[in-house]
Symmetry: C2
Subunit: 325 residues, 2 copies
């Protein structure tokens, strides 16, 4: 102790510092890693890694033989990019941005449900054509939602949707008889049995070995033809080709997708023009000021760490997410 800790800050290629780090300048030495070279150079001298690029695949490539890392923090909810063997199999604690995105994402999900129910996309299409076209729309009240993933994001989604009059069940590792946020929580093994009950299926799970490819042909066959899928979790939880096939065949009624197997979604991908598909650019949780909020959360945890306190939001690396308290 007493020595000034070194923090390597990993951002996307050519990005500058995340906003809000100034308060740390007197408490730590900050090293910007925004390309392969800088990461390779700085990683061996870092005590702490702050990973602000949730897609990074550089870490595994440049992982040093010797390091002095004592803590890794991801300024994202998903830590899938960090679950590489040298980190997963180490005893370096990994923390994440649990909480920051919960409410914005819940609002986004409610918005997409209303987007479908009130047919806003077609209203906008008719508006572009200066066409006055009355349609009957749908209620959201009383509709059944199945949220896959009962972590902090899934719970916030459940709370907001229930407040808005929808019925919400959850899928988690294990079933629970009573739950403060969900109507019922079913075990992940019963996913295919629960899917036919849902008007809306929301993927709010982390990307792990258990969830990768979870939504394939079987899941889309189990969903109702009038059901919609909303994915604000991670792209690879959905088998994209199976989703496109299910949409084309009318086996499900629509999909609102904020995350994709490949991001950015390639310009020639069939999803862009698929009717009843709503696409956004991995932004569901990103409300004005989000980057600064993420830095503030890191600084709070840094001060806990520095004073020998207990880190918040520590990921269970065997599971790949922060387990419930």
């Amino acid at each position: 102790m007493g020595e000034t800790p070194v923090i390597a800050v990993v951002t996307a290629a050519e990005e500058s510092w995340p906003p809000g780090l100034q308060p740390l300048e007197s408490e730590a030495r900050l090293l910007l890693c925004n390309d392969r070279d800088s990461l390779q150079r700085h990683l061996p001298e870092a005590d702490i890694l702050m990973v602000a690029d949730f897609r990074t695949d550089l870490l595994e490539d440049v992982w040093p033989g010797e390091h002095r890392l004592r803590w890794i923090h991801a300024t994202s909810a998903g830590v899938d990019a960090l679950m590489i063997p040298p980190i997963r199999d180490s005893n370096i604690p990994v923390t994440n941005a649990r909480g920051v995105f919960d409410r914005p994402i819940a609002e986004f999900v409610l918005g997409q449900i209303l987007n479908f129910a009130k047919d806003f996309q077609n209203s906008f299409r008719y508006q572009q054509q200066h066409e006055w076209r009355h349609r009957d729309t749908e209620r959201i009240e009383g509709k059944q939602v199945l949220v896959v993933g009962a972590g902090s994001i899934g719970r916030q989604i459940a709370r907001l949707l229930r407040a808005a009059g929808l019925k919400v069940d959850g899928i988690a590792r294990s079933a629970r008889d009573s739950d403060p946020d969900f109507g019922r929580v079913h075990a992940s093994g019963s996913l295919l049995r629960q899917l036919p009950e849902a008007d809306y299926v929301v993927i709010a799970a982390p990307l792990t070995d258990d969830t990768r490819g979870l939504f394939g042909p079987e899941a889309f066959d189990a969903m109702r033809e009038d059901a919609r899928l909303i994915n604000i979790g991670r792209g690879p939880i959905v088998q994209t080709d199976a989703l496109v096939a299910a949409l084309k065949a009318g086996r499900i009624a629509g999909a609102a997708l904020d995350v994709f197997e490949q991001e950015p979604l390639p310009a020639n991908h069939p999803l862009w023009d698929q009717p009843n598909v709503i696409i956004s650019a991995h932004m569901a949780g990103d409300v004005v000021g989000w980057r600064k909020t993420l830095t503030e959360q890191f600084i709070e945890n840094f001060r806990r760490w520095k004073s020998g306190g207990k880190l918040h939001n520590v990921v269970d690396k065997a599971r790949g997410y922060v387990p419930p308290a």
Copy 2:
């Protein structure tokens, strides 16, 4: 009594019977009035008028010198088209569809707020161009809403928006210190003082002499530059030219409009292409099955009337709407 009552059913030009009237066929004689001639012919023999065309301007033209009308029902929330002198100045009771549209319209308003906050229209625009474009969006939590009109629709809007985490004040005829649905209710005379407080201004008022043209240059000057207007009430409450000018000058940030001074909105109207304007075809309250629900509500009231009971949802013709209980 004992005689079979005659019900003239007024629909829009060339429209057929509203759905769901079959149960009345044994209890009443039904006459379809779907053009000027049939209305003129049937009006003098009708005991009851069921007006399913909320835009009708035929009634005043063909009003008979002698009639036997004992009740007029509008299958709409707004009864402005019925407030013609021979009806307003008579003692024929007028009832409306109070209640049926409340929850669907509240959902629609919440949807439009999320539409703005989450920038869905631009997401759809980028999707059409196959363009991956991340943007920061807005929270709805904690935003301030001013609902102009504290009738059953305005109250349902307040309840749903508050459940979703927004703060909601109302504008009514008279101020109230405590209110079960609104944060605070201000008197209509304080509209211009309340407008600067609001992130979203929702018009849910009936069209009356007091509300016609209420939103003109002064109101738009009073609103904040980052505020959005949502009109699900009646088009003529807004001075359209003043609205277009305010939008063009950036004096307000946007408008979601479901109702217009002229409906259908003419194909060459500047509103269609105005940025930050969301247009829909007077459909905010029309969820699947709405026409049948309206008929069922009429039949319930008809049976009350026939058995000598008290009609529900009787309009105060001096005010132009159903007053609070």
